[in-house]
């Protein structure tokens, strides 16, 4: 009987060990988008824009959100993660649009991934994150 229990436990362990948690930042980001939207993966996208109010410069985030909304209308290969409830940052350009590349994250769960501390522009290539630019007063003008 104890032999049966041992083999049963071993089998269960073997199966569960195959299911691995996402490891790279790219995988975490992709899993986050799948969990919070209808996206299946990020392979068709070149960049991710993250908008939230966890910043020293709220005006910068508002400027960034406005500038990025123009790119949303141009149908660029960008995923937009709106990690804000719109109380401090103007997200009116995003809320009424039914697009699959807009991920709403009102509780800012994105923050838990530890990928970017604040609003950010993330470049993707070959299933990897190639750069992360956190938005601040110095660089916000570069994003148009």
């Amino acid at each position: 009987m104890s032999k049966q229990i041992f083999f049963f436990t071993l089998t269960i362990l073997l199966f569960t060990s195959c299911k691995q948690a996402p490891k790279t930042s790219y995988e975490k980001l992709e899993q986050f988008c799948i969990d919070h939207s209808t996206l299946k993966n990020l392979k068709d996208y070149n960049s991710v824009v993250v908008i939230n109010d966890k910043t020293q410069c709220l005006n910068c985030t508002n400027m960034f959100a406005k500038a990025m909304a123009k790119r949303l209308d141009k149908n660029e290969k960008i995923v937009f993660i709106i990690s804000d409830n719109g109380a401090m940052v103007d997200i009116s350009d995003y809320i009424d649009k039914k697009r699959k590349n807009i991920v709403f994250d009102y509780q800012n769960d994105f923050d838990k991934l530890g990928i970017a501390n604040g609003s950010a522009f993330i470049d993707l290539k070959d299933r990897k994150i190639t750069s992360i630019t956190v938005i601040n007063a110095q660089n916000v003008g570069d994003f148009k």
Binding site: G86, S92, I95, N117
Partner: protein
């Protein structure tokens, strides 16, 4: 046996005296208690709230504001009944400005402050302008107004922040330090007793100067909102960087006294200050230090029970905001301190007739839930 009676009485008296002498708590029979588990406000949009206002009929209101995305605010009775929404979208387009919500000025009138341009408006519930006054002339001196805005009997008051008009475009650390040090010595508060005369600026006053020089050194930098409690005869200022409340007499705006705040749950109150060099090397250092500090978060006065509630925040636990509430009488004698459950409550509150309304943690983006406590 009769001879021993006085001795035993004396012994009994001594035992009682000894037992009661160990109780060092203030002599108060009052207790902090939950009087209503939930008051729900179906706001319909995410936003922050502004405290209630009582008028002569003892009615109380609370407003939930979202000017960033929805460009409106919703007014409720404190019991949770929705009264009306006020959309400011059209006013924003007409005046070509964004606004800060200044506060209630009556049941159906509100103060608005234009962002960065120092114009103060009183509007009605249809967002029609009742009065406005343009204070942009003070921008040339570096004075930019910030909420809250207070209005009473023709007198308007607002917070002031210094924006150096001569700030160089490629500022060095030395330039930044010079500019901020200038700010520490300048006034924090603006008063105009003649709001309704849009051309008369003769009575304008800028008061409460040199506030930060009391606790910030020349090479230190701070970043915070305006912390103040504005009462009829007193105006109390505080900061995340000090352990004291600074009480000003409103008749002349002279500092009358400073009250040191101490908590049973932390040895030190006041966030660690940051030097200009540290801030330049790591722009995120403010947030990290505030997150890891204990500091005075908010001060409220309860006009119904005649007491103050001082909210003290402790270092964050993940996303949770641990805090306690220190209860003071009107002379700032500490009556009690209550450690609140950070898993259930946020340190966001307003005071009403029924008690202290404390925001629940498990809010939905469209609704707000408060629990009511009082100390009676």
């Amino acid at each position: 046996m009769k001879l021993l009676q006085p001795v035993s009485n004396l012994l009994l008296f001594c035992v009682l005296l000894f037992a009661t002498s160990c109780n060092t708590k203030p002599q108060s029979s009052k207790k902090w208690k939950l009087v209503q588990e939930t008051v729900q406000y179906d706001v319909g949009f995410p936003g922050y709230f502004m405290p209630c206002q009582s008028n002569q009929k003892n009615e109380e209101y609370v407003a939930f504001v979202n000017f960033a995305t929805y460009k409106k605010f919703a007014v409720f009775t404190t019991k949770g009944k929705h009264l009306y929404d006020v959309s400011i979208q059209q006013l924003m387009e007409q005046e070509k400005t964004d606004f800060f919500f200044g506060g209630f000025t009556g049941k159906d009138t509100f103060a608005l402050l234009s962002k960065y341009t120092n114009r103060i408006y009183l509007i009605d519930k249809n967002a029609r302008v009742i009065a406005k006054k343009d204070y942009s002339r003070y921008l040339l001196d570096g004075y930019e107004f910030f909420p809250k805005v207070y209005y009473k009997n023709g007198r308007i008051e607002a917070g002031v922040m210094y924006q150096d008009p001569n700030y160089p475009s490629n500022a060095t650390v030395k330039d930044i330090a010079k500019s901020y040090h200038q700010m520490y010595g300048l006034p924090k508060w603006f008063v105009d007793p003649k709001f309704f005369d849009s051309t008369d600026f003769s009575s304008v006053q800028f008061v409460v100067d040199s506030f930060y020089t009391r606790f910030v050194k020349k090479n230190q930098f701070l970043s915070e909102g305006r912390y103040e409690l504005n009462l009829d005869s007193l105006h109390i200022f505080y900061s995340g960087y000090t352990d004291s409340l600074y009480i000003y007499n409103k008749a002349n705006y002279v500092l009358s006294k400073a009250i040191k705040i101490s908590s049973n749950f932390t040895p030190k109150i006041g966030a660690k200050k940051t030097t200009f060099k540290e801030a330049k090397d790591d722009p995120n250092i403010f947030n990290v230090r505030i997150r890891n500090s204990s500091f005075i978060n908010r001060l409220y006065f309860d006009p119904y029970r005649k007491m103050y509630y001082c909210f003290v925040r402790f270092p964050m636990k993940g996303k949770l905001l641990p805090f306690s509430i220190i209860v003071y009488d009107t002379n700032f004698n500490k009556l009690d301190e209550i450690k609140m459950d950070e898993n259930k409550y946020s340190p966001n509150t307003f005071v009403g007739k029924k008690g202290v309304y404390i925001l629940n943690k498990d809010n939905e983006p469209q609704n707000r839930y408060f629990s009511i406590f009082n100390y009676e």
